[in-house]
């Protein structure tokens, strides 16, 4: 297996992008990554596109074929990778395997979604199509609903308070306000969303015990990266970052069949695989992007990855350990909560954000000093298909 380097990254601002089609968003992010890699007029060997809903929302299938044509990357191999909200992570994994195996030398991975062109009603239904058709979907359960049931159990078992959930929302929206790519750039305070009368209006229940500010927005957006073998990099213009490890694990489709529904086994397994491959421990990670589609997930994942013991994640969030300047800063991009969650794009965007951190390219209010190792968790379904990546800066 060859070491795989990320030599180019690109992202377009997430949010509501009425002016762009899904294909245009994928193309813009790809062009940024190609330019960042200094590929100029050169082509790539293969393209992997992470996308969940093009066939449903845009009524457009086989979009990887359209993308290589639009970008004049012909005759590059091109595939769409669909794995729910982990589509982006799965696309990255496929790209990494293709380069590591020696089959391809230069690979473009891009992930994106255009979710705002439909109604919230339809978008919620589209995301819910990943639940079990007969045992879950027919009842009208949504992903916020799954998260609500999980949160109730997690709060009861580990004593997580609403105050801790609010702390995650405040932290991530603060970071989103510093990130020009973020969908939500509005910083919030505890007042008005937590414990006063205004919070009833400002922060209504969406799936109790979860409230509006516990959930990520529905976003349009795309992100891309270029992979190549580390051994082929000669005098790179930017500090190389390698995919030092990755892991992927699955769990039961339905929540009710898990022995302990609060145990996110796939998160634990995927991150363990990634850390073992990178020969690192959770304490060696300097910055992480976790899949906070709901605030509870940042807390739960921070424990399942091993940054904190079970039951300690909420305390860590409240004490600032996961904030910028804390012992393990999490979601300095704003996370899904603020950067946004275009489902097929998220797993790629997380890797892009970590690459920026490890290249030390971010403005000082978001840059972890001397960051060398970063980790991502991309959470598909309700934890039934999870990918994790460990990235490392290679010193010249």
């Amino acid at each position: 297996m060859r070491d795989v380097a990320v030599i180019g990254v690109g992202m377009i601002p997430f949010g509501r992008r009425d002016e762009d089609t899904l294909l245009e968003m994928l193309a813009y992010a790809s062009l940024k990554a190609l330019d960042d890699a200094g590929l100029g007029d050169k082509t790539v060997d293969a393209v992997y596109v992470g996308n969940m809903g093009g066939g449903i929302i845009q009524h457009q299938t086989a979009i990887a074929s359209s993308l290589v044509d639009r970008l004049s990357l012909l005759p590059a191999a091109a595939d769409v990778v669909e794995n729910g909200p982990a589509s982006g992570g799965s696309a990255v994994k496929n790209g990494v395997l293709a380069v590591a195996s020696g089959y391809y030398d230069t690979v473009l991975v891009v992930g994106g979604e255009k979710m705002r062109e439909t109604t919230g009603w339809r978008a919620t239904d589209f995301v819910a199509t990943m639940t079990h058709p007969q045992a879950e979907y027919i009842y009208g359960v949504t992903l916020p609903g799954m998260a609500g049931m999980f949160t109730r159990l997690y709060m009861e078992k580990y004593g997580v308070t609403r105050e801790a959930l609010v702390a995650v929302a405040i932290k991530n929206q603060h970071m989103g306000g510093l990130n020009p790519y973020a969908h939500v750039e509005m910083a919030i305070t505890k007042e008005g969303i937590y414990d006063d009368h205004a919070s009833i209006v400002n922060n209504p229940t969406i799936a109790d015990p979860l409230h509006l500010y516990d959930a990520c927005p529905v976003s349009d957006g795309a992100a891309a990266l270029i992979l190549c073998p580390l051994e082929k990099l000669k005098n790179p213009a930017k500090p190389p970052v390698v995919i030092a490890g990755f892991g992927q694990a699955t769990d039961t489709h339905t929540l009710q069949e898990r022995e302990d529904p609060t145990d996110l086994k796939a998160v634990t397994l995927a991150s363990q695989q990634a850390l073992e491959m990178a020969k690192l421990k959770p304490s060696d990670i300097h910055v992480a992007e976790l899949h906070d589609a709901f605030t509870i997930l940042e807390i739960a994942e921070s424990e399942h990855v091993g940054f904190f013991k079970k039951g300690e994640g909420a305390k860590a969030a409240l004490s600032g350990k996961t904030a910028f300047g804390g012992t393990i800063p999490i979601n300095l991009s704003g996370g899904l909560k603020a950067r946004g969650h275009p489902v097929g794009g998220t797993g790629v965007a997380q890797v892009v954000d970590i690459v920026w951190q490890l290249r030390h390219e971010l403005p000082k209010e978001r840059q972890v000093k001397n960051a060398k190792n970063g980790l991502t968790v991309n959470f598909g379904g309700f934890g039934n298909n999870v990918l994790s990546f460990v990235l490392r800066r290679v010193e010249q």
């Binding site: 009603w121 007969q134 009842y139 359960v141 159990l153 489709h253 339905t254």
Partner: protein, 118 residues
């Protein structure tokens, strides 16, 4: 007319693990032979949520969803038929029934409905 609960669980003939929904191989021992098991008795509420942002197909203000465990160990999701103000609690005993849980393409779709045992 009272309808029979339309859920069928599957007990592995090799190791006894109970599954719902169906799996072609046992999640515990990979066995492929199962005995069909119908849920029995009332059900204990394991977790629940009240959803206010509903998906396409539900023209109502909220929906209450929960996961329950029947007396013979079968676990399933269902719709909780209670008012918004009803004080639901984990551990409550619920009475199951098989009712229309949504309408798709003009047709009723039947599923598990649950009400607190008064």
């Amino acid at each position: 007319m009272k309808r029979e609960i339309g859920i069928v669980a599957y007990k592995c003939k090799k190791c006894g693990k109970l599954h719902y929904p169906f799996h072609d191989r046992c999640l515990a021992c990979k066995g492929r032979e199962f005995e069909q098991v119908k849920p029995q008795g009332n059900a204990k509420l394991l977790t629940f949520t009240r959803i206010y942002n509903l998906p396409w197909g539900f023209d109502q203000r909220y929906l209450t969803i929960g996961v329950v465990e029947f007396e013979n160990g079968v676990k399933a999701m269902g719709q909780l038929k209670v008012d918004e103000s009803y004080p639901l609690e984990v551990g409550m005993t619920m009475q199951p029934s098989w009712e229309s849980v949504r309408v798709q393409y003009g047709e009723d779709v039947y599923g598990l409905a649950l009400r607190p045992l008064e």
